[in-house]
């Protein structure tokens, strides 16, 4: 209320999104929902500004005019009420509120129903990362949400353990992501650029670090990205996103986990449960991922599930490269 919207725009000289032109109140509009919803936001904003100025203006005016002054007699007009006025200030706000309600409700219905033919993406939220699967393109575990400009995208979301919430301020969308159930939201990005994804349902230590980017690219770029299986995979992120970290420590200490620790093991000699020995190389790591029961390290229970079909070749390579770096 202190600042009138068109006069000030947020400073945005450098940044990832060249078109980052938000206002002082709202960040950049980068989706159809934002373009639509912001109209209502500003309507309520100006309405609120009007009523706020009315209430505070009258209060200040009355206080100035009717202030009791030293040495002057106290004059009061004992008005106890006015039916006409009271009805007016009940009915007028009520009518305005009903209007806002219908406006927001019709927008809400649009926002609730994903259009047919939308690009489907599965979102998995877990402490404290986002991962994105594109079932139609066979991309699993992408760590960034890459979407084409101008095409509706439908997100089907679920969480691993606790409630998270998927929020893209530039798109004005938000939906809780729950364990054991799917929630759905959708958007249609209108501008190229990359935008923040935040978790907005408190989820523990890493809540404020549960961040990812949504990258809006042209349709051609998207197709190319999808063709290449989602760009170069990141072994470190995959290690967490694919739950390797649940059983394998990335230090030299086992830390009570079921699987062998991985740091410093690459290139070393390993004794297997049948007494045989081998050197840990690319082939052994790969085999251990796709056929874990084949060669089990001595002293460990053969409990690892296979990841054959769940990881693409580039992803396996990235994981191997990551394991090599562990010291």
């Amino acid at each position: 209320m202190m600042t009138i919207y068109p006069l000030l725009t947020a400073t945005s000289s450098a940044g990832t999104s060249p078109a980052g032109k938000g206002t002082i109140w709202l960040p950049e509009q980068a989706s159809t929902a934002a373009e639509r919803g912001d109209v209502l936001f500003y309507f309520i904003y100006y309405l609120s500004a009007f009523f706020f100025l009315l209430v505070v203006g009258l209060t200040v005016a009355f206080v100035l005019k009717y202030r009791r002054r030293r040495g002057q007699p106290v004059t009061v007009t004992p008005i106890e009420g006015s039916r006409r006025l009271e009805i007016a200030w009940s009915v007028v706000p009520a009518a305005i509120l009903v209007g806002i309600f219908f406006w927001s409700f019709s927008d809400y219905i649009t926002l609730s129903v994903p259009p047919a033919g939308a690009l489907e993406v599965r979102v998995l939220a877990q402490k404290w990362s986002w991962s994105f699967d594109y079932p139609k393109h066979g991309i699993v575990g992408a760590t960034e949400l890459v979407v084409p400009q101008g095409r509706p995208v439908k997100l089907t979301m679920s969480a691993a353990e606790v409630i998270h919430s998927f929020y893209v301020p530039a798109f004005r969308i938000k939906k809780d992501v729950l364990p054991n159930r799917y929630t759905v939201t959708w958007f249609e990005a209108t501008k190229l650029g990359s935008y923040d994804i935040f978790c907005t349902e408190y989820c523990g230590s890493g809540h404020s670090q549960m961040h990812a980017l949504v990258k809006v690219v042209s349709t051609a770029d998207f197709e190319q990205w999808a063709q290449t299986g989602g760009g170069p995979p990141d072994g470190k992120k995959l290690f967490v996103a694919k739950a390797c970290a649940t059983c394998h420590s990335v230090t030299t200490d086992r830390m009570g986990l079921p699987g062998p620790p991985l740091a410093g093991r690459f290139g070393q000699t390993e004794t297997l449960s049948d007494g045989a020995t081998l050197t840990i190389d690319d082939n052994y790591v790969r085999e251990s991922i796709v056929a874990p029961m084949a060669k089990v390290v001595k002293g460990y229970t053969p409990v690892m599930p296979t990841f054959a079909g769940l990881l693409t070749d580039p992803q396996i390579n990235a994981l191997i490269d990551y394991i090599k770096t562990l010291k």
Binding site: C247, G256, L257, P258, Y300, T301, P302, V303
Partner: protein, 314 residues
């Protein structure tokens, strides 16, 4: 309301009249209104847990149906009869107080306490049976008491893992054979529907958090490495059909809360009984008897809802 009405007898004749009331009538009306408000909040309190029950029944109707079979309808019906009778004796006690019949008042109060005690005894028998069978709330539901004597003797551990809440793991002494079929028979004999039984020796993955969880609920467990590597050990993962652990969670939560109210009721009845013996009450003043009576009828009423909801699921 604003004008105090009723008898304006001198204070000396009304030792029970507190200093901030103008009259006995005002005091009594206040006490009654206070009691009704208290009952209203009790209803909301139990209403909350009834709502939770409704939600669970909506989510898992088949669980409600199958799990309630383990409750004994005769026991429940007996307790219903006991409580209804106690409501009658309570009403008689209030009636006696109205007539100023102090002996009858005390006698009926004692009868009510005795019936409340009988209710708790029956409840104890029911609880003991559930504890024996292992039909407990949530994580504690193992149903291990349903195994036959031989299996029971060889059972070393029965526990749940958080990651697979529908499963109960049974670990038997490795020196004796226990078969899937024998387990299936044992649970079948107790109407405990089983969806699957697998030997879990090899397939059992236990991560550190799961283990911590299992330890917290089931006492010390052996090291999982030892556990898993005993290739010949008899560990079975039994998946029960439905979610009986939720049903029994609700059963114990609801009946324990109600039982607590019965216990509090007994204390209140005892207190009123003692005051009656001290000569505190007369035809002019017996508000505490009435209020405890109201409370007792509410406790009874709640059971009238609990009985069909838990014991008579259709």
């Amino acid at each position: 309301m604003s004008k105090p009405t009723g008898d304006q007898a001198p204070l000396l004749q009304q030792p029970f009249l507190q200093h901030h009331f103008h009259s006995a009538a005002q005091q009594e009306a206040s006490a009654k209104l206070g009691m009704w408000l208290f009952l209203a909040q009790e209803l909301v309190f139990f209403g909350g847990i009834f709502l939770a029950y409704g939600a669970v029944r909506y989510f898992y109707p088949e669980t409600m149906l199958s799990a309630h079979e383990h409750l004994s309808v005769p026991m429940g019906a007996l307790n219903t009869a006991v409580l209804i009778t106690s409501s009658l004796t309570m009403a008689l006690a209030v009636h006696a107080a109205q007539r100023g019949a102090l002996r009858a008042l005390r006698r009926n109060l004692l009868l009510t306490v005795a019936l409340a005690g009988a209710f708790l005894v029956v409840k104890y028998v029911e609880y003991a049976h559930k504890f024996h069978d292992g039909l407990l709330a949530g994580n504690y539901l193992t149903a291990h008491g349903m195994l036959d004597d031989d299996q029971g003797a060889r059972l070393q551990q029965a526990f749940r893992l958080r990651a697979s809440p529908e499963q109960v793991h049974f670990r038997f002494d490795a020196r004796y054979p226990v078969t899937r079929e024998a387990l299936l028979r044992a649970f079948g004999a107790h109407k405990m529907p089983v969806r699957a039984i697998t030997r879990a020796d090899a397939a059992l993955t236990v991560s550190e958090p799961q283990l911590a969880h299992a330890r917290a609920f089931n006492g010390a467990l052996d090291d999982p490495a030892v556990w898993g590597s005993q290739a010949g050990s008899n560990t079975f993962a039994v998946t029960f059909a439905g979610k009986p652990h939720i049903f029994f969670g609700l059963y114990f939560a609801m009946t324990a809360l109600h039982g607590l109210h019965v216990l509090i009721g007994m204390l209140l009845l005892g207190w009123v009984w003692r005051r009656a013996g001290r000569g505190d009450f007369s035809r002019a003043y017996f508000t505490p008897v009435e209020n405890v009576g109201l409370y007792w009828h509410l406790v009874d009423l709640i059971w009238i809802f609990l009985f069909p909801l838990l014991y008579l699921v259709r």
